[in-house]
Symmetry: C2
């Protein structure tokens, strides 16, 4: 098989189908649009998400903290603990390892997350550094927000700007190629978008203020995440292209490379559905988080309304990022 | 750096020292002899342990379930959920992946553990299959057994036979080399030792019946685990070589290769300390688990008593297994 996550039909039919033994302590199982497991601990539930970073990204230690903490936050739950596993190839220096660990420690502390354990190993099994994290959150049983809770009539809020993570990655990794084609100041700004990839703050606000559903945007971009929230909630969605904020940096880079910013990886964006969009919008902005109402939940149909007419929103395919990296 | 876990002084001074941010929800942090994190969830605690298998072992799916479930069980806690992450190199067939998943599913179900999530990815970052698991258990707050609870005067129980896992690994991996030097029937028996590498049952019994401390034996063997339990509990130990059971299969293989069975990796063995050794010994045997009282907890000193005199038990070095594999 080729690199990448397994296609979802293969996952469901060939992998998940083996997992038949069930425990009553397990309240929510991961599925399309739900990235976390929710476990019964009496008055509280335990919310868990695990993710590896295999792409040996720039700032892998920093990123590794966010990917799993974001998932937990998308349930409206504050992550407080993190397991950190680092596998590094032979010849890795202690300095490189320490840098990753320092990044992870700093970033976790900034989210008020304790690194509670893990594993560090030098091994011939990897040929570049792989970092896996498992984030853990705790909340009262009735307070978990799921991707599956969106109801027709709800507003759909998007935080920050479509394609923000992809913009930063491309601006970093393709710096040379873009150097004489995109304005230098825009490129530099674009690289700084990485500072915005946490959705923990907005997850807390959504959880506190009665979001009906939340989903953090990752691979597949804003449209992919919209499709997943609709799929999980068994509802329709109707969003308006001109209400989805796209930064000039993203626009410039995507135009140059022929990418769709709405299908570009966007950690740092949270989709929030809720009855009273204005109230949550205000709360987000009060905490300094840019946010926009981009459309509404409807009974049926998944539609992007553009100047040129209505376009169906389909199940996410390979992220736009992989067209250029 | 070279392959292997980082030396414990490097881990403590260069890695763990970065993790300064603490949360009050974290009741127990991993340290020498304590492999799990214990988290406060109100009436219950959540017990977590994570481990990767990077050695691409035979039956990696099966093993991956046990390594983390054993850690949770060593706290006297039943593991009930497992996160499973599989990273496989390009070109891995779906059949190979399915076989690993089937092994993990079967083995988890046999322990009454649900696989509650994870991640499966084909990636160029690995050059052989790497499987990581995180096991989760739940127990009332006052019922967690730690490695740190051993008290002078306690009996020390060992379940099963020293070196059992190492015996199985060597009999499998060095089959050709041993074929004309060790009896064929012994070798075949030795390979079947893998069936005994779970300590979940004995962990439950120890937890239920008032063990003062428990620790599952892994790398470094029985003597290594004894040192760790003494270190964690700040006590001495005195054990008797002739009371530590070693199977004829292990004896034959270790003699042939010049290995010390007491320093050979031994998943499947649990060390249990307790006031009333006879009571737990009977409970273990009633459930079909071989067990022996091998010595006692004392105020000071870590000593192995042999026919040739007393030998100090030192901090574990590289496992005997690596002398031959």
């Amino acid at each position: 098989m080729k690199s990448g996550k397994l296609p979802s039909d293969v996952l469901e039919q060939k992998i998940f189908s083996n997992f038949r033994f069930k425990r009553e302590e397990v309240l929510v199982r991961p599925q399309v649009g739900e990235d976390c497991s929710v476990l019964d601990f009496g008055d509280y539930v335990c919310v868990l998400s695990t993710d590896p970073i295999t792409g040996a990204a720039n700032e892998i230690g920093r990123l590794a903290v966010h990917i799993s903490c974001n998932d937990v936050a998308a349930n409206g739950v504050e992550p407080f603990g993190l397991l950190l596993t680092i596998l590094a190839p032979e010849g890795t220096t202690l300095e490189v390892l320490q840098d990753i660990v320092r990044q992870a420690a700093e970033e976790a502390a900034s989210l008020r997350v304790e690194i509670i354990g893990g594993h560090t190993e030098i091994t011939q099994a990897v040929n570049r550094i792989v970092v896996s994290t498992t984030a853990i959150g705790r909340v009262e049983k009735d307070k978990v927000v799921k991707s599956a809770g969106a109801l027709p009539g709800d507003s759909i809020i998007l935080t920050k700007w479509a394609g923000l993570e992809g913009t930063a990655i491309i601006a970093h990794d393709l710096a040379k190629r873009l150097d004489d084609r995109v304005d230098g100041r825009l490129l530099e700004n674009a690289r700084s978008f990485m500072e915005h990839i946490s959705v923990v703050k907005e997850g807390m606000i959504g959880g506190r203020m009665g979001a009906s559903a939340m989903h953090d945007v990752t691979e597949g971009g804003v449209l992919g995440a919209l499709w997943e929230i609709a799929e999980a909630s068994e509802v329709g969605i109707r969003v308006y292209r001109d209400r989805i904020p796209v930064r000039p940096e993203t626009r410039a880079i995507c135009e140059e490379l022929g990418l769709d910013p709405l299908k570009l990886i966007s950690s740092g964006c949270m989709l929030i559905t809720c009855r009273d969009g204005g109230k949550i919008l205000k709360a987000l902005r009060d905490e300094g988080i840019p946010a926009s109402i981009i459309g509404e939940v409807v009974e049926e149909g998944r539609t992007l309304v553009t100047d040129e007419g209505e376009v169906p929103i389909d199940s996410p395919q390979s992220d736009e990022l992989y067209k250029v990296l």
